[in-house]
């Protein structure tokens, strides 16, 4: 049976049902969630903002950041220029030139290995494709340059850039590297200073040398 629509006169209804209390409390009730959040933020109970660069988010062990080319025992790249990564790459950003390696057990090595970091989509297919554990990814996200030319990373940069130790290893086939090691020259051990905390959050990673230390700063002055 078809329901007959109820005929409403809006002006009449307003007169009958409106009240000042309703007008004031109504929005407050509706904004309950918003106001609760506001109070939580103001009192410091909740602080979802990460104040980059003093604070950094802790990335997972499988995070796909900038690439690392691993090394053999003698420091030469582990890569044998098999082109699996170049073939798998959906962005076509890996350029390799192979060369003949004097050791017949190794046979092939890359004379040039370049990744165009601006084309790269950080999908990790290259790490998946590599049969030699030669290319892995770190947790580094800070790729900056003064010009486009600097964003094409060659073997040196991929193996030995000084920023490597800070960020830690990310996406890689084995948790501990099996056949290879990292080629970078490790910096001196940096003291972990508890800098002036600007957050109450526990799981935010504090990067020592870039974290603001008010004591030290005031000493300088």
């Amino acid at each position: 049976m078809k329901k007959t629509p109820k005929v409403v006169n809006v002006a009449d209804r307003a007169r009958e049902e409106a009240s000042v209390a309703k007008e004031i409390l109504g929005p407050l009730v509706g904004m309950k969630l918003t106001l609760t959040r506001m109070v939580e933020n103001m009192t410091g109970k909740v602080d979802p903002t990460i104040r980059y660069p003093e604070e950094r988010r802790a990335y997972s062990d499988r995070y796909r950041g900038a690439h690392i080319l691993t090394a053999r025992e003698d420091g030469s790249p582990r890569c044998v220029a098999c082109y699996m990564c170049a073939t798998a790459c959906p962005a076509d950003c890996i350029y390799i030139e192979p060369g003949e390696h004097p050791d017949p057990l190794i046979e092939k090595y890359p004379t040039r290995f370049e990744i165009d970091m601006l084309r790269c989509v950080f999908c990790g297919f290259c790490v998946d494709a590599c049969p030699e554990e030669a290319i892995i990814m770190s947790r580094e996200t800070e790729i900056c340059a003064f010009g486009r030319g600097e964003t094409i990373w060659g073997i040196d940069r991929l193996m030995k850039r000084p920023e490597l130790p800070e960020f830690g290893l990310g996406y890689r086939p084995n948790k501990e590297l099996v056949d290879s090691r990292l080629a970078f020259v490790p910096k001196e051990k940096v003291q972990k200073r508890l800098a002036g905390r600007v957050t109450m959050k526990e799981d935010v990673e504090m990067i020592p040398h870039v974290t603001f230390d008010p004591l030290k700063e005031s000493e300088k002055r």
Partner: protein, 539 residues
């Protein structure tokens, strides 16, 4: 004619056909390593096992003749399991070299493993037998003994095709290794073929080593431009660079083989500077670049001027025996049809005599041009001159005043090349007005009145006529940078400028006209000129 059934398909074959050949006729591929259609049967790899009904054991299809009423199964469970077993044995000591091995992507161990194998190896890497790796067997071949699957194709090639017996098995059991005596380099002009026939990466090409992964390459069917044998081959290239040449099997011409010089002939193309723009010599004696339109109009009007003043007999059409049939056809159409030229030549070095002359008894011929026979069949021979010397003589006497010369440098070099080239240079100096169509710069090119840049072998579509009179298609693989045109297109332009009615837009169109016009080529279709090529009429 025995009738047999393979996988439920009934076919009829010639007597003397083996099952593997019969399966190929039926379109069924049987996995194999040691069998090769152009080598004697060995039967040692045991991969081509098939089940023949009423035979108690599986039979090797490469060595079992197809007989009347035979029922063969090539892919039932029993066969698949046996093939898998053979593969497992072959892979026991095979090194895990795929990342560094050039054969990856065209390796039959990889291919068959993905279809029949997919098993896990039971042998740890440390237990595999070690042999020599990266052994240089001459300038063409690199040997890796560990990768060899002992199919003996290379041994049979050197025993039965080149008759040099250079490679053999040494040792016994799982220490058998392939090699030459004392690892001496291979010393015959066909050594590159073992790289093709090796089904795995044991014998790889030194020239192609590490240059490019094969899955990046595009293949184009073509014909070798090295000599008048005209072996069917395939150009593998990527992004405008040729990486290697491989043979295509043509039982009528080259079977499955190529000579080493032909294999390397593409390097000659890249050597030397190219002519990139049309040039006309001005009144000051210096050549200056012009656009095609201007060049073509200038040539047409000048040739006609000389013809009107001195007669059509004062112009010579000197073709190149390396130009395609299409090029030579339109060359003749323009020169004879529009300008009225009656004097044609193409012989700088008695190519008409050497075109069928063998250099060895396997493949090579003395004439290092791919289309001398085409020039002969199209009638570009002058009885009057008997060769280029006669033409030079005539020019020096003042009878020949102009010449349109097509010149391509040979892709396979011989000591007589320099002399032949110098004769062409002499001819250009001897005539007053010379139009030269060339691909590569030479030092004498600056003396020509007009230089027109053209594409060379592998850069244009066309056909060549080999020493047998067999027409084969060569397709374009790469396009050079510059304002070059195919030779046939240059003459099509000249014909257009001269007022003829032209309707060709591709080389195939010109081919069609050629087969309609020239008596020797009548009736040959474009499709017939693919593998194995079509013979011209005996004229």
């Amino acid at each position: 004619m025995p009738k047999l059934t393979i996988n439920g398909q009934e076919i009829e074959v010639e007597p003397g056909t083996t099952i593997i050949q019969a399966a190929q006729v039926a379109g069924i591929e049987i996995p194999h390593y040691c069998y090769h259609p152009d080598l004697p049967v060995d039967g040692n790899c045991r991969m081509c096992l098939v089940e023949v009904e009423r035979m108690p054991k599986l039979a090797i299809s490469c060595a079992t003749l197809a007989t009347e009423g035979m029922v063969v199964h090539t892919n039932n469970d029993r066969v698949k399991e046996s093939v898998r077993g053979v593969l497992e044995f072959l892979l026991v000591n095979h090194p895990v070299d795929c990342p560094v091995c050039d054969q990856a992507g065209e390796c039959r161990l990889q291919d068959y493993y993905m279809v029949y194998g997919l098993h896990t190896s039971e042998i740890p890497l440390e237990m595999k037998v070690r042999k020599q790796k990266v052994v240089d067997l001459g300038p063409m071949v690199v040997l890796d003994q560990e990768r060899c699957v002992l199919c003996s194709r290379c041994i049979r090639f050197f025993d039965h095709v080149t008759h040099t017996g250079e490679m053999q098995f040494f040792g016994r059991g799982d220490h058998v290794a392939i090699g030459t005596f004392e690892n001496r380099p291979l010393d015959n002009p066909y050594s590159g073929n073992v790289v093709d026939i090796c089904p795995v990466g044991a014998l790889t090409s030194r020239d192609f080593r590490f240059k490019c992964r094969v899955w990046f390459l595009n293949s184009t069917d073509s014909v070798c431009g090295g000599c008048s044998t005209g072996c069917s081959m395939r150009i593998d290239h990527r992004d405008g660079t040729v990486f290697r040449l491989l043979p295509r099997r043509n039982p009528e011409v080259n079977k499955s083989w190529l000579c080493d010089e032909g294999r390397m002939s593409f390097h000659e193309l890249a050597a030397g500077e190219r002519v990139r723009r049309p040039m006309i010599k001005g009144r000051d004696g210096m050549q200056a670049p012009v656009v095609w339109e201007e060049a073509v109009r200038s040539v047409d009007s000048k040739l006609k001027e000389i013809r009107d003043n001195h007669g059509a007999g004062s112009i010579l059409g000197f073709a190149s025996p390396s130009a395609t049939n299409e090029a030579l056809f339109l060359f003749k159409q323009y020169m004879a049809g529009q300008v009225g030229v009656t004097r044609f030549e193409f012989r700088a070095d008695s190519e008409d005599k050497s075109v069928t002359e063998q250099e060895d008894n396997i493949l090579r011929r003395v004439d290092k041009h791919p289309n001398s026979m085409g020039a002969i069949k199209l009638g570009l021979v002058s009885k009057e001159f008997g060769g280029i010397e006669g033409a030079i003589e005539s020019a020096r006497e003042g009878k020949l005043r102009a010449g349109v010369i097509i010149y391509f440098k040979p892709l396979v070099r011989r000591p007589t090349d320099e002399e032949a080239e110098s004769r062409v240079a002499e001819l250009i100096r001897a005539v007053e007005y010379s139009v030269v169509l060339a691909a590569h710069k030479t030092d004498w090119l600056a003396e020509a009145s007009v230089v027109l840049p053209v594409t060379a072998w592998s850069e244009e579509n066309g056909s060549y006529t080999n020493y047998q009179g067999r027409v084969q298609l060569a397709r374009r693989a790469v396009t050079p940078a510059g304002d070059m045109r195919p030779v046939w297109q240059v003459f099509a332009l000249l014909l257009a400028v001269s007022g003829a009615d032209i309707s060709w837009s591709t080389a195939a169109d010109v081919f069609e006209s050629l087969t309609e016009t020239e008596p020797a080529y009548r009736g040959i279709t474009y499709d017939e000129a693919r593998l194995p090529g079509a013979l011209v009429a005996d004229i």
